[in-house]
């Protein structure tokens, strides 16, 4: 396309830029079974080792630095759920009137995380009267986050203080939204660790070594590599990735 045509075509959309660089090659051979190239709104909140007693920061105080996955670890108590935990169990629909971009409503949304789980889950993710959870890591079975495309689900987990989810598999929209919001880090393992770990076990996730260590049982589990979502995550999400590749202009301070 001629330069004049290009500028004319772009004049209708100031949110795009004509100085476009080819986007990074994203391998079609994803190691993450159900992954897609995905985005996130904020750099991940917990990009250093997190003591499990630390409460989550509010939406307004999220970290603005991006650290590569290889240097990241998560540490804390785990909360264990099983297969097909859908978005209505993560955050029931009656709470979807809360708008997460409002800091007060963000906190309130977090206080309802996992409140939709049936009574067979005797241990509550968030104790009565509390806004935050003491569980840093969620361990799940297959098809975690199935159901709605609502971003409120990963946001609620992150707002409650969860840092990562380790599941056998994810529903694809939840996986994409987890990375796009930066609220929780979605990881996969082919081992059915939801049968081997118990709620309250102390665990560490070492992303650089792709492993989860259960300190309570002394067992270690291999985690799947993040696969072709890597370039988007490393860029800092879809907006940062698009800016890096020239798809949209850089933000002015």
């Amino acid at each position: 396309m001629a330069a004049s045509t290009a500028s004319a075509a772009l004049s209708g959309n100031p949110n795009l830029t004509s100085s476009h660089k080819p986007h990074a090659s994203l391998s079609p051979h994803s190691c993450l079974r159900f992954s897609t190239a995905i985005s996130r709104k904020f750099p991940f909140k917990s990009l250093t080792t997190i003591p499990f007693t630390t409460a989550t920061t509010a939406a307004s105080t999220r970290r603005s630095t991006t650290v590569t996955a290889s240097s990241t670890s998560f540490h804390g108590l785990c909360y264990v759920v099983h297969d097909n935990i859908d978005t209505d169990q993560i955050i029931p629909a009656e709470y979807l009137t809360l708008v997460p971009s409002n800091p007060d409503e963000y906190q309130k949304l977090g206080s309802y995380a996992f409140i939709g789980l049936p009574s067979s889950y005797e241990t509550r993710f968030i104790e009565a009267g509390e806004l935050k959870t003491k569980y840093t890591i969620v361990i799940a079975g297959q098809n975690f986050g199935c159901g709605s495309s609502r971003e409120h689900a990963p946001v609620a987990l992150g707002a409650a203080g969860a840092r990562a989810v380790v599941a056998e598999s994810y529903a694809r929209i939840f996986f994409r939204n987890s990375v796009s919001t930066g609220e929780v880090y979605p990881l996969e393992t082919e081992v059915r660790i939801c049968e081997e770990c118990r709620t309250g076990d102390v665990v560490t996730i070492e992303l650089g070594e792709s492993k989860l260590i259960n300190h309570t049982t002394g067992k270690e589990y291999k985690l799947n590599p993040v696969g072709d979502v890597g370039p988007v995550i490393e860029a800092g999400g879809i907006f940062a990735y698009a800016r890096k590749t020239g798809m949209i202009p850089a933000q002015t301070a």
Binding site: A9, S35, T97, L98, S180, F239
Partner: protein, 508 residues
């Protein structure tokens, strides 16, 4: 090629693990309108450079055959060729959002593009309040106000507003359930890419287009750029042949499929529906089929456009469109074949859409209520089907039966259209005679629970037969409630007996 025949609920079911083998998918013989798709030329220049064309090799053309989904995404990304697993920036034809996800999406758009930024195309954004409308919940009402403010500020062309919550009929712009409204208002067109901040956006695949649900962040990006980064999904092909028995509906077909492949069996895959049975389905029934692909984990569902599609669209849109079809040598991950004539009415028992059972096997399950509504089971034909059962029985319902038309048009149809074979009676007359609740204001209603004062919400741990799409714990309100997903036929039959009931008791 090896194939296995699986006995499944008396249905002949054949699965072929085709390992990306070729299958024919020729369109039916009909006249395709000679229309050209209006490609947006606005932002072509920001795309990554196209690969240079490859010359044919000695073994024949290098160009690989593509499925419908691959073709749509290839065209929308200005690529001559795409294969499953490739990641591409795709041009979006329509972006839809509603009152639950709109406010968050707008917030992200403003944060990333600036408080005064303009959307990429005010005529390609469709905003439909539908989830939490008829409620006194202050935040829910505020969220509709946020939609209105954004639409005014951005001069959005397609905003289906509601201001007077006391009487929906005095709001001429108000439609109701977004997925049904999108179709009725002509926003669904073959060959296009439609995204929505709702997982059941896949409903629009019934029109031979790529349609899928996205989150707020992706929607915020699309609002500003008109583009989204997508991975091309592989395609599962479902071939349904045989004459559809008069006691079955598309809901039974999709419950059969989900029961067969499981709630994660199509995760990040496209589901393409073909065969003589599919060709015989109306547009609304095709919408039911595609609506629930997400319940199998599907990225999208798609039905090839044909004369039925074009006839439906005739009076709904004047936007040119160009259908696409899977090539004869297109590669499918697996092919599933069904002889629909042998299928029986089904339900999905609590607490999963893949917990399939024959309706007749659940005849001892006592129920407390019936719900007919939603994007899945609240369309005009769904109410006509329910009315047919009520009329055939001549009896009154034994349990509270809630009726929530999906849109204002459906509501009017319920009150005005004569039910075929019922002596000129309308659905509303038949429902009244059967003792059902008066049809409610059109919205998503209790399908997803919602605020406590939502009409027909399950606030007690009851047992419900519902024409909706999900039955995970808490979906319709109370987390100890039990939901049996069923067709409108089965729902109506169950209302008449107070137990889960096979509709053949009244239809044969």
């Amino acid at each position: 090629m090896a194939s296995s025949t699986i006995s499944s609920n008396s249905t002949t079911f054949i699965k072929k693990d085709v390992g990306l083998s070729a299958f024919s998918s020729s369109p039916s013989s009909f006249s395709v309108p000679k229309t050209k798709r209006r490609n947006s030329r606005k932002i072509v220049s920001v795309m990554a450079p196209q690969q240079s064309p490859r010359s044919p090799s000695t073994t024949g053309s290098v160009k690989t055959a593509m499925t419908m989904t691959e073709k749509i995404l290839a065209r929308a990304s200005q690529k001559p060729q795409l294969s499953p697993g490739e990641n591409v920036w795709v041009d979006v034809d329509i972006l839809m959002t509603h009152d639950v996800c709109g406010p968050g999406s707008f917030g992200i758009f403003k944060k990333e593009f600036g408080q005064n930024a303009k959307v990429w195309d005010r005529e390609k954004i469709v905003i439909i309040p539908d989830h939490y409308i008829f409620t006194n919940d202050e935040r829910a009402n505020r969220n509709v106000d946020i939609l209105r403010d954004f639409c005014t500020e951005q001069n959005i062309k397609y905003f289906y507003d509601i201001k007077d919550l006391g009487n929906f009929k005095v709001n001429p712009d108000y439609k109701g359930v977004c997925h049904v409204a999108l179709a009725q208002e002509g926003h669904c067109r073959p060959g296009e890419v439609l995204l929505g901040t709702d997982s059941h956006t896949c409903t629009a695949g019934a029109f031979g287009q790529f349609a899928t649900g996205i989150g707020n962040t992706d929607a915020g990006f699309v609002l500003g750029t008109g583009k989204i980064l997508l991975k091309v999904p592989p395609t599962l092909r479902f071939v349904m042949d045989g004459e559809m028995p008069d006691y079955l509906l598309a809901k039974d077909l999709i419950l059969q499929i989900i029961g067969e492949i499981s709630v994660s069996g199509a995760t990040y895959k496209s589901m393409e529906f073909v065969g003589s049975t599919v060709e015989s389905l109306t547009m609304e029934e095709r919408m039911t089929l595609c609506n629930m692909v997400v319940e199998a984990g599907g990225k999208n569902g798609v039905v090839p456009a044909d004369s039925t599609t074009h006839k439906y669209l005739e009076d709904k849109t004047d936007v040119p469109y160009e259908p696409v079809y899977s090539d004869e040598q297109a590669r499918f991950l697996s092919e599933y074949r069904f002889d629909v004539s042998k299928l029986e009415p089904l339900v999905a028992k609590p607490h999963s859409p893949d917990n399939r059972a024959l309706a007749r096997e659940c005849k001892d399950v006592k129920i407390d209520r019936v719900y007919i509504g939603s994007c899945t089971g609240g369309k005009t034909e769904d109410f006509l089907a329910a009315a047919k059962v009520f009329h055939a029985s001549g009896k009154k319902v034994k349990v509270p039966t809630f009726l929530v038309p999906a849109t204002q048009k459906v509501w009017m149809d319920v009150y005005s259209l004569p039910v075929p074979g019922c002596g000129g009676k309308t659905c509303s007359q038949i429902f009244e005679e059967a003792g059902c609740d008066t049809p409610a204001s059109p919205s998503c209603g209790a399908c997803l629970g919602g605020p406590r004062d939502t009409y027909a919400r399950m606030n007690e741990p009851q047992v419900c037969v519902s024409t909706t799409n999900r039955n995970f714990p808490g979906r319709m309100g109370h987390k100890e409630g039990q939901i049996y997903l069923a067709s409108p036929y089965t729902a109506a039959a169950s209302a008449l007996t107070g137990f889960v009931t096979d509709p053949r008791e009244f239809l044969q």
